[in-house]
C-alpha cells in the first residue's frame, strides 16, 4: 500500500518531534521555576523582570515569537555585533520553552502561594534561612500541586512543536508537508499525522501521570 512508503520518513520526523518535546518541556520547566519563583522574590528587580517575561510570552503569539527568534534576532545580533544566529533546533526549542515556561511560571507561583503560611512560620521558628525554606519546605510541597497543570502544559507543548515545521525544522509536520508536496495525497497523510500526534499525546499524558504519582508519594497516606 502507498501509505507504507510514508511511514519511514514520518517516523524520522516523529523522532525529531519527540526530541524537541523533551528538550522544550525540560527547558519550559526550568523557566517556569525561574520566573515563577522570581515573581515572588522580595527583590524588586527580579520580580519586575519575571512579570515582564511572563506577560510578554503569554501575551504574544507563539508563532510570532518563533519567527522573531528565527528571523529577527540574528539581524539584531548582527547590528550589535553578536552572533545570535541560533540553529533552527535551538530557536525552536527556545521559543517553545519560553512560551510554555511563561504559562508554567503562573502555575509555579500559584502552587507556592498555596503552601500554608504556617509552614513558613515553623521554618522560621526552626531558624531556616529564606532560601532553605524555599528549597526544603515550600517547593517540595508545591511541586505535587503543580503536576496536573504541568501535564496539560506538556501536551500543549507537544502540539506546539508542529509550528517549528514553519521554520524548516524536519519535525513530523514538516516531513508530512514534504511528502504531500511530492504525492498530493492529502487525506492519507494528514490522517496518519493526526493519529501519530494523538498517540504521542496519550503516551506523554501517561508519563506525566506516572511522574505525578512519584513526586506526590508522601501524599498517599493523606486522609
Amino acid at each position: 500500500m502507498h501509505w507504507m512508503n510514508y511511514i519511514a520518513p514520518l517516523l524520522e520526523g516523529a523522532w525529531v518531534t519527540v526530541q524537541l518535546t523533551i528538550i522544550s518541556t525540560i527547558g519550559g520547566a526550568f523557566f517556569s521555576f525561574l520566573f515563577g519563583i522570581g515573581r515572588l522574590s522580595p527583590n524588586r528587580t527580579a520580580r519586575y523582570l519575571s512579570v515582564g517575561f511572563i506577560e510578554v510570552f503569554r501575551g504574544t503569539s507563539l508563532l510570532v515569537q518563533l519567527f522573531w527568534l528565527y528571523f529577527a534576532l540574528p539581524l539584531i545580533g548582527e547590528a550589535i555585533g553578536i552572533n545570535l544566529r541560533l540553529p533552527p533546533v535551538a530557536a525552536g526549542a527556545l521559543a517553545l520553552s519560553l512560551n510554555i515556561g511563561a504559562y508554567g511560571a503562573e502555575v509555579v507561583r500559584g502552587a507556592l502561594q498555596a503552601v500554608p503560611r504556617e509552614q513558613f512560620e515553623v521554618a522560621k521558628s526552626l531558624d531556616f534561612t529564606p532560601r532553605q525554606t524555599l528549597w526544603r519546605i515550600s517547593l517540595p510541597q508545591a511541586i505535587p500541586e503543580m503536576m496536573p497543570s504541568f501535564g496539560n502544559l506538556a501536551v500543549q507543548n507537544l502540539k506546539d512543536t508542529a509550528l517549528v515545521s514553519l521554520i524548516s525544522l524536519g519535525d513530523l509536520a514538516f516531513k508530512a508537508e514534504q511528502i504531500r508536496n511530492f504525492t498530493q495525497d492529502s487525506t492519507t497523510i494528514y490522517s496518519i499525522l493526526l493519529l501519530m500526534y494523538f498517540g504521542m499525546a496519550l503516551v506523554l499524558t501517561a508519563i506525566m501521570k506516572l511522574l505525578e504519582r512519584s513526586v506526590g508519594r508522601w501524599r498517599a497516606g493523606r486522609a
Partner: protein, 230 residues
C-alpha cells in the same frame, strides 16, 4: 506597497510608521478570525458538552474520545486537514472560513469542558430542590441551572477568546492575510524583517493585555449568584 499603501524606508521610525496602517489591516483580519473562530467554538463546544452528558454511552463515549482527540492534536495539522482534505470531498470553503473553522474545532474541545464544569459547579442541591418542586427537566435546566452557570462560564470562555486570538497567526500558513502574514509579506518585499515582526509582537501584547483586562472586568461585574430573575 500593500493594500495600496506605500512604505517609507528612509529610516526605521518612518518605516515603522508607514507600515502601521498596513499591519492594522492585518489586525482587522486577525480580529475577524478570532470572533468567527470563537463563535464556532462556542456552538460546537455546547454540542459536544451536550453529547458528553448524554445518558447513552453510545453517544457519550465517542463524544468524549473526540474531545480528547481534538485537544491532543495540533491546530496546524487540523488546519491542514480541513484545508486540503475537505475539498477532496466537495466541501469548499474560502481560506478564511477554513481557518476560523479549524480554530473553532480545536477550541470546541476546550469549551465543552468549560460548559461541563460550569454546569456541574451549580450545586446538586439546586437540582434536587427543583425536582422536589416538580419543575420539568427543561425548565430546571433553563431557569435554575443555566442562569447560575453562565457567570461562571463566561470568564472562562473569555480566556479562551484571548487564546484563540494568539493562535490566529497559524492561519497564515493557508495564506489568510492576518497580521503575521502581512508582516511577512512586508518583509519579503522590503527585506526588512525585524521591524514588522517586532511590531506584530507589540500589537499582540497590547491586544491581549486589553482583552485580559476586559475579561477580568467582566468577571468582577457578573453577579456571582447567577443572572437575577425577579
Amino acid at each position: 506597497m500593500l493594500f495600496g499603501i506605500e512604505w517609507n524606508t528612509s529610516n526605521d521610525w518612518l518605516f515603522a510608521a508607514s507600515i502601521l496602517p498596513i499591519l492594522l489591516r492585518g489586525l482587522l483580519v486577525t480580529i475577524q478570525a478570532t470572533v468567527v473562530g470563537f463563535l464556532v467554538a462556542a456552538v460546537l463546544g455546547l454540542v459536544l458538552a451536550a453529547l458528553k452528558a448524554a445518558r447513552s454511552p453510545l453517544i457519550a463515549w465517542p463524544a468524549r474520545a473526540l474531545t480528547e482527540f481534538l485537544r491532543d492534536t495540533p491546530l496546524l495539522v487540523q488546519l491542514f486537514f480541513l484545508y486540503y482534505v475537505l475539498p477532496e470531498y466537495g466541501i469548499l470553503l474560502p481560506a478564511f472560513l477554513t481557518g476560523a473553522l479549524a480554530l473553532g474545532v480545536q477550541y470546541s474541545a476546550y469549551m465543552s469542558e468549560v460548559y461541563r464544569a460550569g454546569l456541574e459547579s451549580v450545586a446538586r442541591g439546586q437540582t434536587e430542590a427543583a425536582r422536589a418542586l416538580d419543575l420539568s427537566p427543561l425548565r430546571t435546566f433553563g431557569v435554575i441551572i443555566l442562569p447560575q452557570a453562565v457567570p461562571r462560564i463566561i470568564p472562562a470562555l473569555g480566556n479562551y477568546l484571548v487564546s484563540i486570538m494568539k493562535d490566529v497567526p497559524v492561519l497564515s500558513v493557508v495564506s489568510v492575510l492576518e497580521m503575521l502574514k502581512v508582516a511577512q509579506i512586508i518583509g519579503d518585499r522590503s527585506f526588512y524583517y525585524v521591524i514588522p515582526l517586532s511590531m506584530v509582537g507589540a500589537l499582540y501584547l497590547v491586544l491581549t493585555l486589553i482583552a485580559s483586562a476586559g475579561v477580568r472586568y467582566l468577571d468582577t461585574r457578573l453577579p456571582k449568584r447567577g443572572l437575577p430573575l425577579k
